[in-house]
């Protein structure tokens, strides 16, 4: 088995309520790029953290260079030659490139004085090996994100890493920067480094990787050679047919147009986005992470300011609204990040529910507590939320129950339009289908609904019409029988292919 550097054998990791990794095995060979793909919550990041020593697996083992190894932390991993390159870079902007490469492991004399010359020389060597266009003395804070990433990769050279794990490395890179990164990755590969490549972006995966391992719900669905497979097969493995893919779609009875967006733009995020949605209609917004979906709806809602474009509410031009104005008109946004944008975690369900509509729950600025309580109880039973009481801090609830409170806080004011940004991310299967049913129910009651999701079956299952977004632009629109996975994949990857060419 000398052609395997690192082998994961039957790792299981359980968090309260979820089996994040279920008997996962896979291996990395020297000089290969091995993709790890799966939907959000499939267990990729847990697996990666287990490799870097941030999570201790419940069972199973890591075999590194032929011997069972326990990785105790990122530093230990780095010293052993396993390097994790996070989406959020672990650099200190105020320190120089050289200092960042050797962060915490600087060469010093007995008295703790830096051996700057040695540090520079070693760092230069690593940078040259990668072909970086900057020197070791530059302050990292002045570098672009792509260059900062190079600094992290230079650690692989500096510590002669055998395994490098990339987590969504292209999330904030331009196309040229991406090409440079791929060039670098091929360089590492040629020197026999084993590379794990985690990404949502299928075109990249087919471009750079040798093998693909697909994770779903914490289990390995299979490992395939990239050359012997195609996008459809991988996507199918990711999505799976066995899960409860039973979606309820609302009856297609549409009323008046509620929202129309024309040529909305925000530089660097999205350009010329136009769409509209009617009463009783569920509009799906599909795109990979980073396509600009959340940014568009946040701009419509007023949390972000657009550079240009128009927003019409029931036919009237509403210029660029503030969140308050949007809410008062009847718009609701269930944001992408429940904990950061959706809830005040230390508040209870009652207070979170009324937070966006304080004026509805008050007279002369005095809160109407009975009304708040009644609303809380109404939605607790309607959405079957499991909580001990109106004032139990929502931080103590499960993800699914938290998400239901985010829904409750918007539904209680009878919105005309509800935007759901990744409404089922990171929640259990039961809560998922409850939310899918709710979406159908809302549309049948005459609400306009926009659903954003990177889960294709979800988008296709609940929507009447789907927009495909890629790199900040709407690239296609599908309706009726055209709403197929093949078409969506085509639209998104074709566009990406064009952009890359």
């Amino acid at each position: 088995m000398d052609d395997v550097i690192l082998k994961v054998e039957g790792i299981t990791k359980t968090f309260p309520g979820v089996k994040a990794l279920d008997n996962v095995s896979f291996d990395i060979r020297p000089g290969e790029v091995h993709a790890l793909v799966g939907e959000n919550g499939a267990g990729k990041s847990t697996l990666m953290k287990a490799l870097a020593g941030l999570h201790k697996p419940d069972s199973g083992q890591i075999v590194y260079q032929g011997a069972p190894t326990e990785v105790t932390g990122p530093l230990d991993a780095r010293q052993k030659g396993i390097l994790l390159i996070h989406q959020e870079l672990s650099l200190s902007p105020e320190l120089s490139v050289a200092e960042n490469i050797y962060l915490g492991a600087w060469p010093t004399n007995r008295f703790g004085v830096l051996k700057k010359r040695e540090l520079r020389r070693n760092a230069s060597k690593a940078l040259e090996a990668l072909g970086c266009g900057f020197g070791p003395d530059v302050r990292v804070g002045t570098l672009s994100v792509a260059m900062q990433q190079m600094v992290e990769i230079a650690r692989a050279e500096a510590f002669s890493a055998n395994v490098v794990i990339f987590d969504e490395p292209t999330a904030s890179l331009t196309d040229t920067e991406k090409d440079q990164l791929f060039h670098t990755i091929r360089g590492l590969k040629a020197r026999g480094v084993g590379i794990v490549y985690i990404s949502h972006k299928m075109d990249e995966i087919f471009d750079i990787t040798d093998r693909i391992t697909v994770l779903r719900d914490g289990q390995v669905q299979g490992t395939v050679d990239t050359a012997d497979t195609d996008l459809n097969q991988v996507t199918r493995m990711m999505i799976g047919r066995t899960l409860d893919t039973f979606f309820v779609k609302a009856k297609a009875e549409f009323g008046e147009e509620v929202l129309r967006v024309e040529e909305l733009s925000k530089s660097g995020l999205f350009q010329d986005v136009s769409f509209s949605v009617r009463e009783g209609e569920v509009l799906g917004l599909y795109g990979l992470v980073g396509a600009g979906r959340s940014e568009v709806v946040e701009t419509v809602f007023g949390v972000r300011r657009a550079d240009g474009g128009k927003i019409f509410w029931k036919g009237g031009d509403i210029a660029l609204p503030t969140p308050r104005q949007s809410i008062d008109m009847g718009m609701a946004l269930v944001p992408e990040s429940r904990k950061e944008q959706g809830l005040v975690l230390m508040m209870g369900g009652r207070e979170n529910t009324s937070l966006p509509h304080l004026s509805l729950f008050s007279e002369l600025s005095v809160m109407n507590r009975p009304k708040e309580l009644a609303t809380f109880e109404k939605y607790r039973s309607a959405l079957s939320i499991k909580t001990t009481g109106p004032d139990q801090a929502v931080s103590q609830l499960s993800g699914g129950n938290q998400q239901k409170f985010v829904l409750a806080k918007w539904l209680c004011a009878d919105p005309k339009l509800i935007i759901l940004d990744e409404p089922t991310r990171g929640i259990d299967v039961g809560s998922k289908s409850a939310i899918h049913e709710l979406i159908a129910d809302l549309a049948e009651r005459g609400l306009a609904v926009i659903v954003i999701s990177s889960e294709m079956p979800e988008v296709l299952g609940v929507s009447h019409r789907v927009l495909a977004m890629s790199e900040g632009a709407v690239v296609a629109e599908f309706e009726g029988d055209d709403m197929t996975e093949e078409n969506l994949i085509d639209a998104v990857s074709h566009h990406r292919g064009e952009a890359a060419a």
Binding site: L75, R78, S92, S96, E99, L103, W106, V113, L114, R139
Partner: protein
């Protein structure tokens, strides 16, 4: 940081401009010097410059420790009280054990209290603002417990002559301040501990992941800060010949003002002794200049407040990456 900026850009002019953009306090300092030189004939004299340096040195020595702590992303509100305790011990213990042992114990009291602050911050996870706010109140209590309500007087007046060493117009106190500032600038830029300071303040997760012992690191910086506060207190006791129990009251505020004025950020990760020297000198020049112009002392206080807000606004405009 000198390492980074010097060789980063090609032309020397560019690197000077780059340095000034990061250390804009020096431009401001130059401006104030020019203004006061024009306004008062007594300002730009050798003697007065010596005065400014000596006057600024006390806050300056406190500011050195504060800078280290602030680059770490922490704060130390207790320096004024530590200063008073060290000064009281240095004078009060002299009669029992002689001058230098007393001075040494004064220093040790500062180091010990700094260590206590740092340990409490590191072990409890409380914000240093709360820990040292407690210290600010409590350590002042210690001073009163030790010295009572009256000032302690030095018996042997040769003690007050110790700092009366001058090189030209520059007093020993001023020299000590400059030497310490340069030394700690060297520590910041050239030692493991110094680079850790930036790493911890910049990105504490990355520092921790890289194996830096963040807790021990913070304890060391709080200890340094406490020790330097004691140095300041002892110099003050030498200069005055007495130790007032209320000595150094609200000096922690002046110190924070000086450091922030220099450009070091409260959020941590950014700053240097060059900036702090600039801030300290600017503060000293403003106070000295306004007094030379015989402005009433309220003007000084109001100008300080105004300048500080101005510095914040300027910093926001020049480096609008404020929240990293």
């Amino acid at each position: 940081m000198s390492l980074a900026t010097e060789s980063q850009t090609g032309s020397p002019l560019q690197s000077v401009l780059g340095w000034l953009l990061r250390n804009h306090i020096w431009v401001f300092l130059a401006l104030t010097v020019v203004v006061f030189s024009l306004a008062s004939p007594y300002f730009l004299t050798v003697n007065n410059i010596g005065n400014i340096l000596t006057q600024g040195a006390f806050i300056g020595i406190l500011a050195i420790g504060m800078t280290l702590v602030m680059i770490d992303g922490e704060i130390d509100l207790s320096v004024g009280a530590i200063l008073a305790l060290a000064s009281a011990l240095a004078i009060g213990l002299q009669d029992h054990m002689g001058v230098w042992p007393a001075v040494f114990l004064g220093l040790m009291s500062g180091a010990a209290l700094g260590f206590v602050n740092g340990t409490l911050v590191a072990l409890s996870g409380m914000h240093s603002f709360i820990v040292t706010l407690g210290g600010l109140i409590g350590i002042r209590g210690l001073v009163f417990v030790y010295s009572g309500e009256n000032a302690l007087m030095v018996q042997d007046f040769s003690y007050t002559e110790i700092p009366e060493i001058y090189i030209g117009p520059i007093s020993l106190t001023a020299m000590l301040f400059l030497a310490l500032a340069l030394f700690f600038q060297w520590v910041l830029s050239s030692t493991r501990h110094g680079r850790e300071t930036y790493a911890v303040g910049d990105n504490i997760e990355a520092a921790h992941d890289a194996g830096i012992n963040v807790k021990r690191h913070k304890i060391i910086n709080f200890t340094i800060c406490g020790t330097l506060a004691a140095v300041c207190g002892i110099l003050l006791s030498m200069r005055l010949g007495t130790a007032e129990p209320n000595a150094g009251k609200i000096w922690e505020l002046w110190t924070i003002i000086a450091v922030v004025l220099g450009g070091t950020r409260l959020q941590g990760g950014f700053g240097s002794m060059w900036m702090t020297i600039g801030g300290v000198l600017t503060l000293a020049v403003l106070r000295n200049g306004l007094r030379l112009l015989n402005t009433p002392n309220y003007v000084e206080l109001m100008v300080m407040g105004g300048v500080l807000v101005l510095a914040l606004v300027l910093d926001k405009l020049l480096n609008h990456k404020g929240d990293t």
